[in-house]
Structures are given as C-alpha cells and as structure tokens.
Amino acid sequence: MSVPAFDATVAVLAIPAASAALLAALPGYRLTARLNVAASFLTFLAALSLFSGARGEPGQYLFVDDLNIVFVALNTFVGFTASVFSASYIRHELETGRLSPGNLRFYHAMYQTMMFGMNLAFVANNIGLMWVAVELATLTTVLMVGLYRTHEALEAAWKYFILGSVGIALALFGTILVYMAAQPVVGEGHDAMVWTTLVEHAARFDPALLNLAFVFLLIGYGTKVGLAPLHAWLPDAHAEGPTPISAVLSGLLLNVALYAVLRFKILLAASPGAIAPGPLMVGMGLVSLVFAAFMLYRRRDIKRLFAYSSIEHMGIIVFAFGMGGPLANFAGLLHMVMHSLTKSAIFYAVGHIAQVKGTQKMADISGLTVTHPGLGWAFLLGVVAIAGLPPMGVFMSEFLIVSSTFAVEPLLAIPLVLGLLTAFGALVLRATGIAFGEPSGGTAASPAPASYAPIYAHLALVLAAGLYLPPPLVGWFRNVAGLLG
C-alpha cells in the first residue's frame, strides 16, 4: 500500500464497522448481499496485509502478534466464505418468505457488526476492551439467532442470551481480579489492563489472586467456548438461527472465546507461583469431548448433530492446549484451524440440504447423493473430514494430539481415544443414512453449482493441509505454539 497512513489493524476493524452502518441504511437484496460479500472480502485482504507490514510497537488498545494474526486471518477468511454462502442462502429464504426485506437489512448490518466485534476481540491489547468486544459479538449473535421469531428461535435466543451474559459477567469479574493482581505491581490506571504490560510483569503478581481470576475467566469464557457442563445454549442456538450464523458461531465465535482463555493462560504461565492452568483445561476438555460424543447418538436434528460435534471438537482443542508443550500446542492450533474450516463447510452444506429437502429432521432425509449428487458428496466429504479420517487435515491434528498425549500422560489418552471413536461412530452412522439409501424428502432443484464453491474451497484446504503442510506455515505454527508455553 502506497498510502502512508494505511494501517492494516485499523482497516480490519474499520471496514466491518463502516459497512455495518452502510448496510443498515441500504434496501434491496441484490445490492446488500453483494456489498456484504465485498466488505468481507476487503476485510480478509486487510487481514492478509497484516502479515506483510512491519509491526509497530504494541499500542495501549490494539496490537498484533504472532498468535492473534492467525486468529484474525482465519476469522476474516471464514467470514468471507460465509458471506458468499449467506448470499445464496438468504435469497432462498426471501423467496420462501421466511425472511422479510426488513429482516434482511437488520441481518446484514448485524453480520458486519459481529465481524467487527470478533476482530476487535482478537487485536485488543487491553483486557477490558477484549471483554467489551466479546460481549458485542455475543449480543449481535443473540439477535441473529432470534431472527426467525419462531417459538424455537426465541427459546434458543433467550437461553443463549441468559447463559452467555452470565458467562460474560463472570469473565468480567475475572478481569477485575486480574487488574487487582496487577495494580500493586504495575500501578494504577490503564497500564494495569494492557496485556503486553501484564505479561511482562506477571512474575510479580499475587499468585492467589491470579488463580481465582483464572477460575472465573475459564468458567466465564468457557461458557462461550461451549465447554460441558456450560454448553446448554450451544445446540439450540445453532439449530434455530439462520444457517450462515450457525457456521459463523461454530467456526468463529467459539474461537474468539477460546482465544480469550488462551491469552489468560499465557498470563498464568508467566507467573511461577500460580497454579498450572493445564489440568483444569484438560479436565473440562475431556468431559466435553466424551459427553458430546455420546450425545451425538441421540440427535434427530441435523444442525443439532453438528452443534454437538462442535462441543466435541472444542473439547479436543481445549484438551490439547491444556496438555501444553510445543507438540500439543501445535496440534491444538492446527486442529482449531481445521475444525473451523471443516465445520463451516459442513454447515454450508447442511444449509443447502435443509433448503432443498425442506426439513432439518434427519429421519426425513436420505439418498442425498442420488437426488443432489454435488451437495451429497460435498456433505459426505465434510463428515469424513470432521470424523477424523485420513487423508484430511483433521486426522493429522487429532493424530498429533493423541500421540503427544501418549508420550506425556498415557492414561489420559484412553478417554481421549474413546471419545474420538464414539463420536466417529455416531457421525458415520448418521451421515450414511443421509447420503445413501432410498431417496426421500423434498426434491427441490439444487441451488446453482456456484453456491457450492465455499464448501469445496474449505474442504480442498483441509485436504491440502492433511497431505502437505508448507514449511513456512509449520514454522509459523511452531513459533506460536512456543508462545503458548
């Protein structure tokens, strides 16, 4: 960029914010859907330019480091493909009359506000600001989940709102406790909330206060990650909202909360007197994994099925980060990226399936590869990937997690493998029922092949990552894994 004032960090925030205001004012589907895609694409480009530009000193409010740049890039990429999917999904919803043009304007404005909130949470260098950003992203998604105004959507939005707010309130209490721990060392005022300053001085913080703070932060943000037993909002919110939002919730919003937990984990690791955050995270991760794996068998609704699968995978990721060490952190990061890509691809496919079949009940959907081959095979490929079969990228990250666990703590690998296999069985069982067999359900015409592009693009990336990871990427991830301690 030749403009001297161009600042990629600011652009990542300003583009969604400006387009949210613009989209709130503009009427009409064709224009706004395209504008939404264009804005998301520009944000993605801005995020990519973060990699090239020289990084300034961390500011009082915003900063960029090796860790959050990965999150921002992933976030804006999936945000972009989700906006492409959303354009074709929303057109169908408008045609069938489930959404009115007024809803549409609201939906697009909220979409960009949510992207703004998530990006802000990533680049915030101030733990207070990060909290505000997470809250903003939560509130916008609550409104989107309730968009259809059906009984189910309202119940889901209410439940999500109440549980999400309680989680976020507890996280704020944790944030205040961190400030209390930092204040005697760093001094009063803004400095004691700037994350880079906190990490520098964390060794001298009161460890007891930090411990208590971390418990609140883990439970608070953990509610938003969807860790059992605080996951109750997640399946409902995924099942009842518009499908592009389910994809964004699973692929991105859970990562935002996870990122917050990781930031504070780094802080705790820098303080020698504090408890090791690892065992807590390992415990919650394993419980989520095993619980969600068994719950998968009882699902009747296709979106709920994959919502529980998200709980399962977040459990795996939190487990990996809880184990710590370079290899497990590396695997956790890789798994997070793979899960975001795969799960959002699956939700794109599921959105189209629910539209062509006219139902979300799995019992009423079968023979998809016969009636809609393009869609059916894409869906099947996605399930193969998320279930962890080779040669997809999820297999590689899960393999790394399991093998690193065997090396460190063989006993913990038993429940881990048990959970993985249980979930695998459930997913394959359900997917074969949907993809094969006697065709049933609606036979509406397939959407234009172009609308499958985001699905195949994601799955191609996941496949490529499973076959070959380019050395610069490996180096980058290894570096970040080192940061996580």
């Binding site: 101030n126 207070g128 600001l129 909290w131 505000v132 809250e135 509130l139 609550v142 409104l143 309730g146 105004r149 009984h151 189910e152 309202l154 119940e155 889901a156 939005a157 209410w158 709102f161 109440i162 707010s165 309680v166 309130a169 507890l170 704020l172 209490f173 944030t175 205040i176 406790l177 400030y179 209390m180 204040q183 005697p184 001094g187 009063e188 005022g189 803004h190 004691a192 909330m193 009161d206 007891a208 206060l209 411990n211 208590l212 409902d236 099942a239 009842e240 699902r299 009747r300 609704d301 709920r304």
Partner: protein, 221 residues
C-alpha cells in the same frame, strides 16, 4: 483521606447491597421485586459515590450517577410499564422454597467471604473487603436467576449480578473508566435486547413464563 470512619461507611454500604440482594430473594410479587431492585441500584449508587470520595477518584461519580439515574429510575419504571402493558401475572413462582433459597444464599455469602478474604490477604483491605461483598452480590444474583421461572425475575437477577460487578470495579483502585462505562453501556444494550426478546415472547406466547418456552424445545416429542 482513608480513615477508619470512611472504611466503616464503605463496609456498611457494601454490606447493605448484600442485604438488599437477600431482600430480592424473597420477593414474590413482580412489582415488589422491581422496587427492591431499584433500592439495590440506589444502595449501589451510594456505595460507588462513597468509593469515589474515599479514593479521591472523581470519575467514579459518573458511574454512581449512571447507577442512580439509569438503574434506579429508568429501568424500574420501564419494567413496571412493560408489566402493565402486557398484563403479566403479578405473582412469581419460585422453583424452590424461600427458606431453602435463603439458606443457600447465606452459604454463598459465607463462601465468598472465606474465599476472598483468605486469597487477597495482602491486598489493600478496603478493596479486598469490597471485593468479597461484590462476589457475594454476584453469587446471590446467580441464585436469583436460577430460582425464578419468570423471565422478568431472571432479568432482575441478571441486573443485580451486574450491580455486583460494578461494585467490584469501583472497589478496584484506579480501574480505568473504560470498564465502568462499558458496564453501564452493556446494561443498556442488554436491556434493549431483553426488551425486544420480552416483546417477542409476548407476541408469540401470551406469557413470560419460561416453562411455556420449554414446551417448544426442539427435540421434545
């Protein structure tokens, strides 16, 4: 400026907030619940204002003013109005009996005292005891939320929980203004969301009883 007397007054006000939290627990009428919440916000406002004076931190007066105007006046009035306009039942059903709720509440207060006073033993005593009270208010707010079936009861529980957070933020010496404003702002936004949700609930179910929502749960057959 921090004398023994100013200490005692800060404690009295923070303790008063815990007391009003208990009063919230046994209200069985919606209007009574909302009025008690207004009192809760009033005590919070006094407590924050006292902290502002004791710490010599003028920006906390803003927080106190926000609590007084917005939480003690605007929100209760709006809630009264919603109840009248929607013709909601005036009684609140509790999930468990009041006696048990109060006992649990006492247990929670004891828990927060034990945890906070022990952990923050070397911290500034004013902040430490304030924080212990704040934790108690937060936990009592959670208790209120789980023991009420009524949507408005849950909203009041959530707002009393946020009051506890403001008390904690005010007690933390020199905590940047950003956070207090954000808390006030979040209450505003939260309230708008709640208002919309409540309104839509009314549109669809003719009740704000959460149990009516449960019947529509996606997977119940």
């Amino acid at each position: 400026m921090v004398t023994a007397l100013s200490f005692d007054i800060a404690h009295m006000l923070a303790g008063g907030l815990v007391l009003v939290s208990f009063m919230l627990l046994y209200q069985d009428r919606l209007h009574g619940l909302i009025n008690t919440y207004a009192l809760h916000a009033l005590v919070l406002s006094a407590s924050v204002a006292w902290q502002a004076w004791a710490q010599g931190a003028p920006h906390l007066y803003v927080t106190a003013a926000v609590a007084l105007l917005f939480k003690a006046l605007v929100i209760p009035l709006a809630l009264h109005r919603i109840i009248r306009r929607l013709g909601i039942h005036r009684d609140i059903e509790n999930v468990v009996g009041i006696g048990l709720t109060m006992l649990t509440g006492m247990g929670l207060v004891a828990l927060s005292m034990v945890v906070m006073l022990r952990i923050a033993a070397d911290a500034d005593p004013l902040a430490r005891e304030d924080l212990a009270m704040a934790l108690a208010v937060v936990l009592l707010g959670l208790l209120l939320m789980v023991t009420r079936r009524n949507a408005i009861g849950q909203v009041v529980g959530f707002m009393s929980l946020e009051n506890g957070l403001v008390l904690a933020a005010a007690g933390a010496r020199g905590m940047p203004l950003v956070v207090e404003i954000s808390v006030a702002f979040s209450v505003l936004v939260a309230f708008i969301v709640i208002g919309i949700v409540l309104f839509r609930i009314r549109e669809r179910f003719d009740t704000v009883d959460i149990r009516a929502l449960d019947d529509f749960r996606g997977e119940r057959r």
